[in-house]
């Protein structure tokens, strides 16, 4: 399924392609920067990184409108960057600072900002899927024409909340698109060990909704599939299950070197790196020159330098701030 070329999406202008590429670059370089900062001990907690999954994050989010909403998972950094949550506030949140998008009450696994169309990420596997359905119900009831893009991983397709929420979304024709990032592993467990269904998109048949398996390392293929599913949802025809085949280059979390994966397997997927694939495509198409890409990388570095400086300058919350924000007044 996963190739090495790009399936050109219809109707994308060069400037839109460039914007998508830059966003992918920002996702990757954000994750790489966070990795080094984390190794240096400059941020607390744990991190679940998404290097290698830029095409799913950016492909899905590029097909959304500003007032749409996404839900995310314990691996949310790239979703947040792709959705346009300011990197300053994301970095500050990872640094546990007051100017973080959750004011230091969320952390890596809960980044998000509804003002930018992303609920705080849900770190219980599958836990965000019912919330996505509910948010979609509100959109439908309020007749806004908006949709929810609901991210979850392959592992989530085995938990009850997936079944309940996809089914209820199907029977009510809710405007939600289920974007399953199949990165082949739930932590260290390979997906084929925990389901007999070879293609997770086939599970859609159980709910009477369309299901499609998409090359999740081809940003334009993801974009086109999300746009189509999104239009269907906006038009009142209900949800779609998209299986986006991808791969995470990093381990499950900070403590995981990924020994359960073969070198060949990793090499296979590295050869299909969504970022370099798109970069090659854009240069071959004459959309971007090598010099322009180098400039772009330099500008992303500067943006991340600024984000780190912002995060470091931001004050820590007061210890007793932990007592606030439990209840709304």
């Amino acid at each position: 399924m996963t190739g090495i070329t790009i399936a050109r999406a219809a109707g994308l202008s060069d400037s839109e392609r460039i914007r998508m590429f830059r966003r992918m670059l920002l996702c990757r370089m954000f994750e790489d920067r966070v990795y080094y900062l984390f190794l240096q001990g400059r941020m607390p907690g744990t991190i679940h990184q998404a290097q290698g999954q830029e095409a799913t994050a950016v492909g899905v989010c590029s097909a959304l409108q500003p007032a749409d909403m996404i839900t995310s998972t314990h691996r949310p950094h790239e979703h947040a960057v792709a959705r346009g949550v300011p990197v300053n506030s994301l970095m500050a949140e990872l640094f546990a600072k007051v100017d973080g998008c959750c004011h230091g009450k969320g952390g890596s696994m809960h980044v998000g900002d509804a003002a930018y169309g992303m609920l705080p990420a849900i770190a219980i596997v599958g836990g965000g899927i019912p919330l996505a359905a509910g948010y979609a119900l509100a959109f439908k009831y309020r007749k806004t024409g908006n949709i929810v893009g609901c991210f979850f991983g392959d592992g989530a397709t085995n938990i009850g909340s997936f079944h309940e929420a996809v089914n209820i979304s199907a029977i009510w024709n809710l405007p939600v698109v289920f974007a399953c990032e199949n990165n082949k592993y739930g932590a260290s467990t390979a997906i084929e060990k925990v389901t007999r269904v070879p293609r997770l998109s086939e599970r859609a048949a159980a709910y009477g909704i369309p299901g499609r398996t998409v090359d999740g390392n081809d940003v334009e293929a993801v974009y086109a599939a999300m746009l189509e599913a999104g239009e269907r949802a906006r038009g009142g025809a209900g949800p779609t299950l998209l299986e986006l085949e991808t791969y995470r280059f990093a381990g499950h979390s900070r403590s995981d070197p990924g020994h359960y994966r073969s070198k060949d397997e990793v090499a296979y997927w590295k050869a299909r790196d969504p970022l370099t694939r798109y970069e090659s495509f854009l240069t071959e198409e004459g959309v971007l020159s090598s010099a322009e890409i180098a400039d772009m990388k330099a500008s992303v570095e500067k943006e991340l330098d600024a984000a780190v400086a912002f995060a470091e300058a931001s004050p820590s919350p007061r210890p007793e701030d932990c007592l606030n924000d439990v209840y709304a007044a």
């Binding site: 009450k105 900002d113 609920l119 836990g127 509910g134 119900l137």
Partner: protein, 350 residues
């Protein structure tokens, strides 16, 4: 039962409602007042159906339609999660489970999602929803009769209401719907007053004055339902009625008991309880929940902490034993705190 439980005086010419009627009226009024209010649950709006397990929503779909009265699949996690998501999306869902025991199926969505969204967002989001759940042992055995207040009370971010009578039920439910937080709303099956085929065997006759004009009962205000001077009895739901019966029996023995209906467990009205204990010097807590880790333990601990100098005897909890709810009526009667057990506890500490 003709205990003066309502704030309004008894008056035969005024209208009197059962709990079911009062709750239904609260839903209807709030749905008329605010079109963001929607209902979600199993069997709640099926034409020709029964309006939820205990008829609370009967007929509401006729007025508000199926856009606002949503019959769900048997999917408790989805019911709770969809309610929370819809609340985040600008609606005010009132969801329910048919039996409180099913809350366990919805606990991730309630305890991890609905309760924490405000906190995890750093105070940017709120989750205005109500989740109704019938509790109480009613010869349905171990999986349709538990009392679950303590489980939910333990979750920061949730509020917990537990009315003992129709007047409070209506006023509290309206407040819960207007509250910007997730509120778990416990209803006792023996207090519903459901009629016809849905009538609850063993249910107590409880029809009280509920005024036509609007009123709200704030979350976090306990009520002294019987003033007294010698011992304080704190209870909720059905146990308020058993405590009042006990107080009446005590009166015959010349013992003057004060009975407090907590009405909500989160927020807990400590001041009303503390003031009473400082006056009486003695405290009995009556709950239908299992003894260990029940809400009574929390009340006891807080009173011990704040009122130790006023206590003239040990704090006693009258609760269900630490067993599942039994089926056989003779065992169930033994299990549920009785008037006799309340009297024994009072006599023990006096």
């Amino acid at each position: 039962m003709s205990m003066p439980l309502s704030a309004a005086p008894e008056n035969k010419t005024e209208r009197r409602l059962t709990m079911v009627e009062a709750l239904r009226e609260a839903l209807r009024e709030e749905m008329r007042r605010d079109d963001r209010v929607i209902l979600l649950g199993e069997d709640i709006g099926v034409p020709g159906g029964f309006g939820g397990a205990f008829t609370v929503t009967l007929g509401l779909e006729q007025e508000f339609g199926h856009e606002r009265v949503l019959d769900t699949p048997i999917s408790e996690a989805a019911i709770a999660g969809v309610a929370a998501g819809a609340a985040l999306g600008g609606l005010i869902p009132v969801a329910d489970v048919q039996y409180g025991d099913f809350l366990f199926l919805a606990m991730d969505q309630l305890a991890n999602q609905a309760a924490k969204m405000r906190y995890m967002s750093g105070g940017k989001l709120s989750v205005p929803m109500v989740f109704r759940a019938p509790v109480g042992a009613t010869t349905r055995g171990a999986q349709h009769g538990q009392s679950l207040e303590a489980f939910l009370m333990h979750v920061p971010g949730l509020k917990v209401a537990c009315p003992s009578n129709p007047y409070d039920g209506k006023g509290l439910l309206k407040s819960a719907i207007r509250d910007p937080n997730p509120v778990i709303f416990f209803e006792h099956k023996l207090l519903y007053g459901s009629k016809g085929a849905r009538k609850e065997a063993g249910g107590i006759e409880l029809v009280v004055h509920v005024p036509e004009e609007e009123y709200l009962i704030p979350l976090g205000q306990a009520k002294v339902v019987r003033p007294g001077s010698q011992v304080t009895i704190v209870a909720n739901l059905l146990m308020v009625h058993r405590s009042l019966q006990a107080a009446k029996a005590l009166e015959a023995d010349g013992i003057d008991a004060e009975v407090i209906d907590v009405r909500t467990l989160v927020p807990l009205d400590e001041e009303t309880i503390f003031a009473s204990v400082r006056k009486t010097g003695r405290l009995i807590i009556v709950e239908e929940d299992n003894l260990t880790g029940g809400w009574g333990a929390e009340v006891a601990a807080r009173v011990a902490d704040a009122c130790i100098g006023s206590l003239e005897g040990p704090i006693r909890r009258v609760a269900a034993p630490d067993t599942p709810v039994p089926f056989a009526p003779v065992m169930e009667n033994y299990y549920i705190p009785s008037v006799e057990k309340i009297l024994a506890a009072v006599n023990d500490v006096l």
